[in-house]
Amino acid sequence: MVAQNVVFGILAAVMVLSAWKVVTTQNVVRAVLYLVVVLAGAGAQYLLLAQEFIFVVQVIVYIGAVVVLFLFGTMLTRAPIGRDVNVDNDQKWLAALTALFLVGVMVAVLSDAFGNTHVHPTIQRTSDVANSMFSAYLIPFEVVSVLLLAALVGAIAIARRD
């Protein structure tokens, strides 16, 4: 348990620092690469909670596909490689105030509700996910696959030149 807490602490520190860099760095490409660190850290947290399949999906879909999409988006919109002074707007302080207020409220509510609750993860295997996905969650699974198809066709229809 101690080792898990140490690993959690290291991962959490790295994730929060990288997330902070994602929203503050002035370089668009670097922000996307910091996002990779946050996503990998989230995957490691899933592994720490003994949920293996979601870790694999996180690596394949997020780190493999979504980040590549982001880099393509950056490239297609000709973001200057290097320092770009114009990526923040002028309501920074108001935004920081809102975020601080929100984190304060959430931490207060969560520590009130789950003050001393311990979590003892049991391994959730990929076969459990498959059994559950194709029995109890079959209709949501089909709906989400149709939605994914519609979204991708829509993305092509929006972005193509005609």
Binding site: V22, Q51, F70, G73, Q91, L102, T122, V129, S132
Partner: protein
């Protein structure tokens, strides 16, 4: 492990995402901040699933990942279209529908 350590991490990540959405002007970076928020929600779902020893948390996180992938695809297509029409992806310039 305390349940709260995961929930606090998710809360902090979510609020960093909120800050990013509010303070960024570049549309691609706003989408990246939205990804941060969705990941925070996923950590919450998986943590609660592990706490209650149920598979449902993982399944819901999978659905969230699917929707996030679709959202990024459509969002970046819209950003590319805005860039093609207005030669800028600054969200302050995209104010055509402002009253």
């Amino acid at each position: 492990m305390l349940l709260n350590q995961f929930l606090f991490l998710a809360a902090v990540l979510f609020c960093i995402g909120v800050y990013g959405v509010l303070a960024r002007r570049n549309a691609v970076l706003v989408l990246a901040s939205i990804e941060l928020m969705l990941n925070a929600v996923n950590i919450n779902l998986v943590a609660f699933g592990a706490y209650r020893h149920t598979i449902a948390g993982q399944i819901f996180a999978l659905f969230v990942i699917t929707i996030a992938a679709a959202e990024v695809g459509v969002g970046l297509a819209i950003v590319v279209l805005i860039f093609r029409n207005r030669a800028s992806i600054s969200l302050d310039d995209a104010d055509l529908m402002k009253g």
